[in-house]
């Protein structure tokens, strides 16, 4: 069981899970605040990766600058996504509209439509084949740790993800804006009555969530060395799986379930070919929806 091969797969799974965790956090934040699934989150991931790629091919800066550029593009993309696809459906603020299912469905469909437009636009601009990252930027130089061979990418992803999680925790608990995010996700109408600017809070949530998603995108792009326009679709679904498994409004739950997902996926690749490894995530989703409708860590939800 402590065969170095399995330890290695465990390490790979952990770093994969960390990228899913970064995506899942953004997803959960947005879902918590707006109660709507953001189908375009996978496209933010892709945009982050492409932003990094463009910067690398244009001006070869150090890796830290590339990551910062991805974060900036992610923040901007999140802001524009909110303004474009989510804001127009909040123009009715009466009680009936706020609770209406049609409103939520149309928001969902609009984010789906925007995600399609963005993906196809990226395909037209960049072409749909995989672009490879120039060699100096790839973060997979192997590093020996005891019996296991890891790559530098694992450490970098772990470090960046941990830093972002700690930063998010600080933001949510110690700053005013974090407080307003938590208030709006708890009770949007109540937060409005108390005087919190829900609009600004929602924008802020989108910005923070998209920054994390874009960071995940650039990190995975540099780790695997392949960047292509359709790369955001599957991680978006996996982020959704992690969110549902963790209980919808729980960020630590989403992170833990993302790690579990990553580890199970990399373990599964030892037994089946990698084409089937996506089935793990879908299988987990179906199992969770049927047997654990409130997620593993979540508070009770009225109806699933």
């Amino acid at each position: 069981m402590f065969d170095p091969y399995y330890l290695q797969q465990l390490a790979i799974g952990l770093s994969l899970g960390m990228t899913y965790a970064l995506m899942a956090i953004g997803f959960t934040l947005i879902f918590g605040v707006l109660n709507v699934v953001n189908f375009a989150h996978g496209e933010i991931y892709t945009l982050g990766a492409f932003a990094g790629l463009v910067l690398i091919t244009a001006a070869a800066p150090p890796i830290a600058a590339v990551v910062f550029a991805a974060l900036a593009i992610g923040a901007f993309a999140g802001f524009s996504l909110e303004r474009l696809a989510f804001k127009p459906f909040r123009r009715f603020t009466d009680e009936a509209s706020l609770k209406s299912r049609a409103m939520r469905e149309s928001t969902l469909l609009s984010s789906l439509a925007v995600s399609i437009v963005v993906r196809e636009a990226l395909e037209i601009v960049f072409g749909s084949e995989m672009r490879s990252v120039p060699f100096e930027y790839l973060i997979n130089t192997p590093v020996r740790v005891g019996p296991v061979i890891l790559v530098t990418g694992d450490f970098i992803i772990l470090g960046v993800a941990a830093a972002m999680l700690i930063g998010l925790q600080y933001l949510l608990t110690r700053t005013r804006i974090g407080l307003s995010i938590r208030a709006v996700s708890n009770n949007p109408l109540g937060a409005k009555y108390v005087g919190i600017d829900t609009d600004r809070t929602i924008i802020m949530t989108f910005v923070v969530g998209s920054m994390m998603g874009a960071a995940a995108g650039i990190l995975v792009g540099l780790y695997y060395g392949a960047i292509f326009p359709a790369m955001g679709f599957v991680p978006g679904i996996k982020a959704f799986v992690a969110m549902v498994m963790g209980g919808l409004s729980s960020i630590p739950g989403a992170v833990i379930c993302a790690l579990i997902l990553g580890i199970s996926e990399s373990m599964a690749t030892t037994f089946v070919s990698s084409g089937w490894s996506d089935m793990v995530a879908y299988g987990f989703l179906i199992l969770t929806l049927i047997f654990f409708p409130n997620g593993l860590f979540g508070a009770g939800r009225e109806r699933v």
Partner: protein, 326 residues
């Protein structure tokens, strides 16, 4: 009105196609008809019953693969594969529906998305059975009881007859008391359940029925084009069908048909834009949700239209007051 549509589909359009006599136009017409069937079946499950179904193309694919595999491995002709692919797709949908039917709205949507993706992965990776990405070449064209129907005009007529029959069936389903029950489930299923409507059972029936029609469409596609591959049944096709229903109007069958025709014929008409077809689908969907949330022919207008034109099923008292579907 039904006479007008019948004349259009069975007389006017074939006359136009025959006069141009270009295979490409026949392909477009057949493609449009198949997608009319797909979007009508999607209308039944998403528009009328309110179950947002993001994996419809996968059941279309199940039907197509059934038809293809039956033809290539067992040598059965279209006469057999048409009902069988519908039945197999319905069976798969039934098995899928058993665990997932108690989920609501977004959870159901993502569950169907996952199911669609799983079916797609099976089609792509189970190479021994489905030949994976290479696809399957369907050796037999359309035929009925041994009479070959694979000439251009006869293909068109076969597809048109099957599609019109299915659309009429879906129309009778959605404009009846059964359809009203489904709409009540869509609006508030807890309330409908409390009133005695068998919610879970109706949802399962609708899901299975729409998959049956999708399977039928799949067998039409397999025999018509002669080659299928997993790429025809990806998530983006599901989104295309959803966009057709949304653009036409959720809950309106004429709207679903108009949406299907629009989203198939418009890219053909704007051939010059080439690669922009997919962007256009997304953009049209987005703009229609934003500016025309009720769709091009919204549900209320469509119901009124159907009652006026196809009023045979609408019972009236002696002084002409409408009192309900027959």
């Amino acid at each position: 009105m039904p006479a007008l549509i019948g004349v259009l589909v069975f007389a006017a359009l074939p006359a136009v196609l025959a006069s141009f006599d270009r295979g490409y136009f026949y392909q477009i017409a057949n493609l449009a008809l198949i997608f009319v069937l797909l979007s009508a079946s999607m209308h039944l499950v998403t528009g009328v019953a309110g179950l947002l179904h993001l994996g419809h193309a996968a059941f279309y694919g199940v039907g197509a693969y059934t038809a293809a595999l039956l033809t290539t491995k067992l040598g059965l002709g279209f006469t057999w594969t048409l009902p069988l692919s519908g039945l197999v797709a319905a069976l798969v949908a039934f098995l899928v529906a058993l665990p997932t039917m108690r989920l609501v709205s977004i959870y159901f949507a993502v569950a169907t998305l996952a199911i669609g993706q799983m079916l797609y992965l099976v089609m792509l990776n189970w190479v021994e059975f489905t030949k994976g990405p290479n696809g399957i070449i369907v050796t037999k064209g359309l035929e009925l009881f041994g009479v070959s129907l694979s000439g251009r005009l006869s293909t068109y007529y076969t597809v048109a007859v099957v599609v019109v029959l299915c659309v009429v069936a879906i129309g009778r389903l959605s404009h009846s008391y059964y359809g009203n029950a489904l709409r009540s489930i869509r609006e508030d299923d807890q309330c409908a359940d409390a009133m005695g409507v068998r919610t879970v059972r109706l949802k399962m029936e609708t899901f299975t029925l729409s998959a049956f029609f999708a399977g039928v469409a799949g067998s039409l596609w397999a025999h018509m084009t002669g080659y299928i591959s997993p790429g025809d049944f990806k998530f983006s096709e599901s989104i295309l069908i959803l966009a057709m229903v949304v653009v036409g109007g959720l809950g309106s069958l004429p709207g679903a048909i108009i949406g299907a025709l629009l989203l198939i014929l418009l890219p053909e008409g704007l051939r010059g834009l080439g690669d922009f077809r997919n962007i256009m689908v997304g953009a049209v969907m987005f703009l229609s949700i934003l500016f025309l949330p009720k769709g091009l022919l919204g549900e209320v207008s469509a119901l009124r239209l159907v009652r006026q034109q196809l009023g045979a099923a609408w019972r009236r008292t002696d002084n002409g007051i409408g009192i309900g579907w027959r």
